[in-house]
Amino acid sequence: MMYRAEQLYQLIPQRPPIVMVDVVWSATETEAETGLTVTADNIFVRNGHFREPGLIEHIAQSAAAFAGCGTFLRGEEPKLGFIGEIKDCVLNMLPEVGTQLRTHIQLVTEVNGIRLISAETRIEGEMVASCIMKIFLKDDE
């Protein structure tokens, strides 16, 4: 199932101008493909390039959207996620305005509500960024 635009609000708790995923192409129990087209009005764009915090936020929201696909299918509200740790982070380039990021999220494991995911972000096949991220998903009280 593909999600675009405001459908994504069913998957992630973020709202404009901080939404850093504009499409989920696919999602399974263990992996997802997400995307973002970098626009000039993106709050993380400076001098025509999408900056490092935006890339990290895009990956984090991709992981949140991946988790959100599961909660959405169960009819639940999206959960707030917190980045617990980022490691092995490599940023190869700062994407230009107009480019489309494509991110592959792979669930490595999940323990006590903490998800360990690996992420790779590419533009037309070229590696932009990769990292391992731990994300804590907050359960509703």
Binding site: T109, E110, V111, N112, I114, L116
Partner: protein, 79 residues
């Protein structure tokens, strides 16, 4: 894999990953205390065990695995 071989490998990979002396890893020692694991690094241990031994520790089982001996036994039954 023989159990002695498995124990040696478990000790080796955990000592290297969590930067502790292998000599402090003993069968009766508490895993979390010995490796100084918090809730975040516990996830690393589970991922490491899965990648090295092909065994996914189930959440319900994780709570029961307190000592290295319990971990060796768990892996020996499944690896």
């Amino acid at each position: 894999m023989e159990k002695n071989e498995l124990i040696a490998k478990v000790n080796s990979v955990l000592a290297e990953e969590f930067e502790v002396e292998e000599s402090i890893i003993t069968p009766d020692a508490n895993i979390k205390q010995t490796l100084q694991l918090d809730s975040l690094s516990l996830v690393d241990m589970v991922a490491l065990i899965e990648s090295e031994f092909g065994v996914k520790i189930q959440p319900a089982d994780l709570a029961k695995i307190q000592t290295f001996q319990a971990l060796y036994d768990y892996l020996a039954e499944r690896a």
